[in-house]
């Protein structure tokens, strides 16, 4: 493209004609006038910029440099929300701590630096520190999460190339008390277990603390009492639950052994295992609660029915016998009170396989719990579900569920027959959760009477916390050994209770894994000896904290509600006439 011009277009040598001259003159006049307009535009624009500049520089902020905004913004972004118990007590929080790193390029004398550094960080070895300081990288961590004193002393060493970075560290003021529920977060504040994992995303950008249904006071009592029994009976583990029977909220839940979430690196695999929700166990006789409830609810038996428990049942290669064998006909309350396997099996055969499987499903025993923890065990259920399974499930073998499953099932047996979803988060009283009716109110009332009977006269007498009308059921299951055969010595002893029995507020479950009998228990390691006393202490210690007043257990009103004794007496009399 060359500047070749159209005819007579070359302006430099153009021969002006009069007309063009006039035209050009007019054009240049317009151009000059408009130049003034353009000039005005720029004058105004630059003036505005000048005014704005002075306004910002002279009348905003000033003096104090506002670089702090940079750091405050980062803290806000990474600040992980707190976790608190139902009363607002702190269970997990985040602190800003200094971490030490080095830029090896800036370190002058590596060996000297390492030697001096270990005078403060004495758990590190000089050789390892020196190796880090020799790295070719520009950034190596030396130690994360220093105390302020350590930071001060390292600073005082004045070693070039060492720098601090503020980091967030998760702190659990309650230590191991709620370890399995709250869980824990790793070095970079990433949730790795429990609620910290389940709600990781929410905690990360949530400013509101996560409020749990737990009550730290009850949690402490539960943990202490289960720990006591574990030591006393030399158990390998233990689990316990205190559940609000009318809302499904977990008030306390313990799995022992536990761990300190502040020191997760040191925790053993077994300690991290949540026996209360992840472990599934054959619960044994506590399942007779459901067996009896189904028999009564389906109408296959009444409180006045009786079954022949004279002889053991032989099926295939098994023999089903009674532990507290009476060798006679037993009424339904007696079967429950004496925990008769023979009677329970016969009751189950009356309502049958399909009804049993359906009922287990209704109770939620065939699927993992809906609780908000990542550690949820899947129940082990018979497949196919045969007649023999129906017989063993009658007394709690052949189906394995988590302890929390059991507590939740018992809650719906005593609270009027409603199954509430279990939760570890505090329920909003305004947001009404819909429960599901699983048994009739009438059956539920009968179950309360039967459970009370066990504590008054049966296998659970050691659970009687005076004034709190405890009702419950023992369970002593034989654990399947390596080979799958049941080992008599390895027991799972439990007691599941509710109180106060005329209008149950709370369900308490205590389970001790592999307790060994001692002198005091005359060699027994059954639920009645191992778990029931713990329940008694838990109830008498917690009830006042939960706002329950002790009552006169012999008062006529309460007697009337829990009039089972009369019925049982009547039944026994009637049976005696057989």
């Amino acid at each position: 493209m060359s500047p070749r011009l159209p005819p007579q277009g070359d302006s430099v040598d153009a021969i002006p004609t009069v007309r063009i001259e006039g035209n050009a003159k007019q054009a240049i006049e317009v151009g000059r006038n408009r130049l003034l307009v353009a000039g005005m535009f720029f004058a105004v624009a630059f003036t505005l910029v000048a005014v704005r500049l002075v306004d910002i520089a002279a009348f905003r902020g000033g003096g104090e440099p506002s670089v702090v905004r940079e750091s405050s913004a980062t803290v806000l972004k990474t600040g992980r929300a707190d976790i608190v118990d139902r009363n607002g007590l702190l269970l997990a929080t985040s602190l800003s701590v200094p971490s030490l790193y080095a830029d090896p390029k800036e370190v002058i004398d590596v060996e000297a630096a390492a030697q001096r550094l270990i005078t403060v960080l004495d758990h590190l070895s000089a050789a390892k520190v020196a190796a880090k300081l020799k790295a070719t990288k520009r950034f190596v961590w030396i130690q994360r999460g220093l105390t302020p004193r350590q930071q001060y002393r390292i600073n005082a060493l004045g070693i070039p190339g060492l720098h601090f970075q503020r980091e967030e560290r998760r702190v659990y003021p309650q230590g191991s008390l709620t370890s399995h529920i709250v869980g824990y977060a790793g070095t970079d504040s990433v949730g790795l277990g429990g609620l910290e994992k389940q709600f990781d995303g929410m905690l990360r950008d949530g400013a509101q603390p996560l409020k749990l249904s737990l009550d730290v006071r009850i949690q402490h009592i539960l943990r202490e009492e289960i720990g006591r029994q574990m030591v006393k009976f030399d158990g390998i583990g233990g689990a316990g639950v205190v559940l609000d029977a009318n809302t499904g909220e977990v008030i306390a839940m313990v799995s022992l052994p536990d761990f300190d979430p502040n020191l997760t690196g040191a925790a053993a695999e077994d300690a991290r295992f949540n026996r209360a929700t992840l472990g599934v166990y054959e619960m044994g006789s506590t399942f007779k609660i459901f067996n009896t409830a189904l028999a009564l609810d389906s109408g296959s038996a009444t409180m006045n029915s009786g079954y022949d428990a004279t002889n053991p049942i032989r099926i295939a290669r098994f023999t089903i016998n009674d532990y507290h064998a009476k060798r006679r006909w037993l009424s339904v309350p007696e079967i429950f009170m004496y925990s008769s396997n023979i009677g329970s099996v016969k009751m189950a055969l009356d309502f049958g396989l399909a009804a049993q499987r359906g009922f287990m499903g209704k109770l939620g025993f065939l699927a993992p719990l809906s609780v908000e923890l990542p550690e949820r065990g899947t129940p082990i259920t018979p497949s196919p579900w045969r007649r023999i399974n129906t017989m063993t499930i009658a007394f709690g073998h052949g189906i394995a569920v988590s302890p929390l499953h059991l507590a939740s099932g018992v809650a719906s047996m005593v609270n009027g027959g409603i199954r509430w979803p279990v939760t570890v988060l505090k329920r909003d009283s305004s947001a009404r959760t819909v429960g599901k009716q699983v048994i009739s109110k009438r059956t539920s009332k009968q179950m309360r009477q039967l459970l009370r009977l066990v504590v008054e006269n049966g296998t659970g007498r050691k659970a009687a916390a005076e004034g709190y009308l405890v009702g419950g059921k023992t369970g002593t299951a034989e654990k399947p050994g390596e080979s799958g055969a049941y080992a008599r010595k390895a027991l799972l002893s439990s007691f599941v209770a509710a109180f106060p029995m005329h209008d149950p507020r709370y369900v308490v479950l205590v389970m001790i894994d592999e307790p060994k009998g001692n002198k005091e228990s005359h060699g027994y390691a059954t639920g009645g000896w191992v778990a029931a006393p713990a329940v008694r202490r838990i109830v008498s210690r917690s009830a006042p904290l939960l706002g329950l007043l002790p009552m006169d257990e012999e008062s006529p009103e309460i007697r009337q509600v829990l009039e089972i004794e009369l019925l049982a007496e009547k039944g026994r009399k009637r049976l005696a006439s057989f």
Binding site: M1, S11, N23, G31, R32, A38, A57, A58, G63, V67
Partner: protein, 374 residues
């Protein structure tokens, strides 16, 4: 300067007595201030990019003498030679712009830099002054030679340049080029009704850009609703001005500048505001305003329409670019990456501005009788 005699008729002597020495002085001030600012603003950015602290300083200081010599050399020839030079330059730039689209690597979502012999060249910078002179010629011919469709050619060339720039995409340069082009059309006597129509078309085009280009929408949204979005850069920029106050923190004492991602280029005015204070900022504004307004005042007595339009266009480009830069960093308009002429870091920008200002100086030199061109 008494070293050049009034009667000296050599090229240099002639130049010295005809060039506008006030404009020359203002430009010299800007160049010196630019050299100072590259020391203040670029080391922090260079360190963040893991280059040597003085990486940008060295490059800029090597280019500054080249730029000054280029500007002075271009200011020597007469208007006819300038026009021819601009035409050649314009043709070359169009070729380079096409090559850029074909060969250039994509940086931050756009193809803008063409790598030639180790020097990355931003053709869009060089096209601006050349285009201003070429369109000035076309508009002048349109008015001077009845029947010559100069304005249509100018419209066509504008469509070509704007199209090539939008393909990169480089909306900022497109807006500057179009605004200057429109200003020149206005000076050339565009009927008032069409002035308003073109302003309307421009507005529609900008709204279109808002919906077409994600980053444009993003920036406009941030400007209109600073609370609801991330306005990190411009927040830091305002903090820098506030931190500097009237007197500034002193050279090298700025703190906010270390958090400004583009401190050496798109936000150099904020660094100046922090370290040298608002008073020096006002001096910078004054120098730019002086250059533009003095040029315009001198052009009012110009009798050659081509010179008037061309020089006004070149000055408008300088003025608009500095206005957009300063107004962005003061959050008066949406953030638009735009260099501050002669002060921001950037080789292509510096050389292209030297070219433009060199042409401006050449065009506005006193010519015998002032009528030499018409």
């Amino acid at each position: 300067m008494s070293t050049v005699d009034r009667t000296d008729t050599s090229v240099i002597g002639n130049w010295w007595w005809t060039v506008d020495r006030w404009s020359l002085g203002a430009l010299a001030l800007l160049v010196m201030f630019g050299a100072m600012m590259v020391f203040a603003a670029s080391p922090a950015v260079a360190e963040r990019l893991h280059l040597g602290s003085y990486h940008f300083v060295q490059r800029q200081l090597m280019l500054l003498p080249v730029a000054v010599v280029l500007m002075l050399a271009i200011s020597l020839p007469d208007p006819l030679a300038i026009r021819r030079l601009a035409c050649l330059g314009f043709a070359g730039c169009i070729v380079l712009l096409i090559l850029t689209l074909v060969f250039a690597a994509e940086i931050k979502g756009a193809q803008r830099w063409l790598s030639i012999a180790g020097f990355s060249l931003q053709a869009s910078e060089f096209v601006k002054p050349c285009f201003a002179v070429v369109t000035a010629w076309m508009f002048a011919e349109w008015r001077r030679s009845p029947g010559f469709p100069g304005h249509w050619i100018a419209i066509g060339l504008h469509a070509l340049v704007a199209g090539l720039l939008l393909l990169q995409p480089d909306l900022g340069q497109t807006v500057i080029v179009s605004a200057v082009w429109f200003g020149q059309f206005f000076l050339a006597g565009l009927p008032v009704i069409l002035v308003f129509s073109l302003v309307g078309i421009g507005a529609v085009a900008l709204v279109g850009a808002y919906f077409t280009f994600g980053h444009v929408r993003d920036r406009v949204d941030r400007f209109l609703d600073p609370a609801g979005s991330d306005t990190y850069q411009v927040d830091r920029s305002l903090e820098a001005f506030a931190n500097g106050g009237l007197m500034g923190t002193g050279p090298g004492e700025g703190e906010i500048k270390t958090f400004l991602p583009d401190a050496h280029a798109d936000f150099v005015f904020a660094v100046a505001g922090e370290e040298f204070g608002a008073l020096v900022g006002l001096v910078i504004i004054t120098v730019f305003g002086f250059l533009v307004l003095r040029g315009y005042l001198r052009l009012i007595s110009e009798s050659d329409l081509f010179v008037l339009i061309a020089a006004a266009g070149l000055l408008a480009q300088l003025g608009l670019q500095s206005f957009v830069h300063m107004a962005s960093s003061l959050q008066m308009i949406p953030t638009k990456g735009m260099t501050l002429p002669f002060i921001s870091y950037g080789g292509s920008s510096l050389l292209a501005l030297s070219l433009g200002m060199g042409m401006m100086l050449a065009l506005t030199r006193k010519r015998p009788g002032r009528g030499g061109m018409s």
